[in-house]
Amino acid sequence: MNDSTRTTAVCEPSRSHDTTGGAQGAAGTSFKHEHLAAILAHGLKHGFFEVHAENYMGAGGPPHRALAAVREAYPLSVHGVCMSIGAPSALDLTHLARFRELVMRYEPMLVSEHLAWSSHGGTFFNDLLPLPYTQETLVHVCEHIDQVQDAIKRPILLENPSTYVAFASSTMSETEFIRAVVQRTGCGLLLDVNNVFVSATNHGFSAEAYLDGFPLEHVGEIHLAGHSEQRDDEDEPLLIDSHDCAISDSVWSLYRDLVARIGPRPTLVEWDSNLPAWSVLRAQAQSAQQIMREGVLLAVEASRAV
């Protein structure tokens, strides 16, 4: 399944220490139409913007005009949320064709999708639903990723999910599953640090241990986001991947350690509801850029000390 002729999902991580902020050190935000005028007036240096693919699958009109305006000034990331790669049923070929068309039209810097499912039995559920990690589901997920990559003629970045439940039938860990997917399909990875923190809290494992087992060498993009808190049946914290508030200190801390370990990667601040002013969102992206710059400088100092 692995096609060695494919180009990589993003450019290779810079071997030299790039302190000028190239693609690897870029930080961006979700693009919301409410922010368009503010973005064009007060933009984001070394920035990029990410959109949910499905919001731009109409034929024309204001959505495409807004996206074209942003694309003219910034690199784009097209983030699919409804391909249902983790479903046992076949992919929706009409949807795949629309996805391909969007990628061709906007030539994004990054293309990503989720390790989750959202459609089954002819119904679309509009949520990122979990799957057991077994040899059988591995085969299906890999077939679906191959299908997507063949259609768009480039590798995708696959995002690790945030989950609230697990499956008794799972026979491998999430990181083992993801590593096997990468090996079989040649896809890259979108590492969502907030998802790692949310799942670690919800399932009682260590986020650091998860990252130790994650194939970090294949990470082509990082996601950061805010989460909210509910209580589970035992009245203990149950974190919700809500994308409606600022990034938590715990997630920033994990991100700082991650960047120190793997170097800068294009980093995206997701904020999808309860939207703040553009200046607030921009400040979050700038914090990510600052952490990446500090990480690079520390690496430079460490290499000089050797």
Binding site: G58, H95, N126, H140, D233
Partner: protein
């Protein structure tokens, strides 16, 4: 050729309870030792239900303003459970919502509501429609009056006559 899926029934067992609160989480769904999964599974159920009700609310904002939040959500919840979306494009969802409104018991005292919804639907279709070249005044002058054929979406909106006024009052 995609392989068959003899042991991939997880979606078949996970899906039904997402839109039906009387169905419990499947047995294969677990949490850490000693943890129950009622509230955990409810997170997915809630995400699905709220987001699918939000979809008609996004397509029909004027209807929500006219009916009020409570009645609209009740109506939309009924509709979502009876006719869940089949396409991932939610701006395409709810084409049969105006017809559903006509049959909804608590909306019968507003017989104009369904046509107002049809106008909102046409507005959204026009919003997402492919861009066409702007019609210049000179081109209009060349058209013979009897053959003048107005674009379908616009025609649909105009034919709704008085209901356009209701939409203008309550639309964005």
């Amino acid at each position: 050729m995609l392989s068959e899926n003899p042991s991939c029934g997880y979606a078949t067992t996970f899906a039904p309870g997402l839109t039906d609160p009387s169905i419990k989480a499947p047995e294969d769904v677990v949490a850490a030792p000693g943890k129950r999964v009622v509230k955990r599974y409810n997170v997915y159920r809630n995400n699905v239900t709220v987001s699918l009700i939000d979809a008609p609310a996004a397509v029909y904002p004027a209807i929500q303003r006219i009916t009020g939040f409570g009645l609209f959500r009740a109506m939309a919840r009924f509709h979502v459970r009876a006719t869940p979306p089949t396409s991932p494009l939610l701006f395409e969802y709810g084409r049969d919502f105006p017809a559903f409104i006509e049959t909804y018991e608590y909306a019968r005292e507003m017989p104009w509501l369904a046509d107002t919804a049809r106008i909102e639907r046409a507005w959204l279709d026009a919003y997402h429609a492919a861009d066409l070249p702007v019609l210049a005044a000179e081109a209009l002058a060349e058209i013979e009056a009897p053959s003048f054929d107005i674009q379908a979406n616009l025609a649909g909106m105009l034919s709704a006559g008085a209901f356009t006024g209701v939409h203008v009052q309550h639309g964005d």
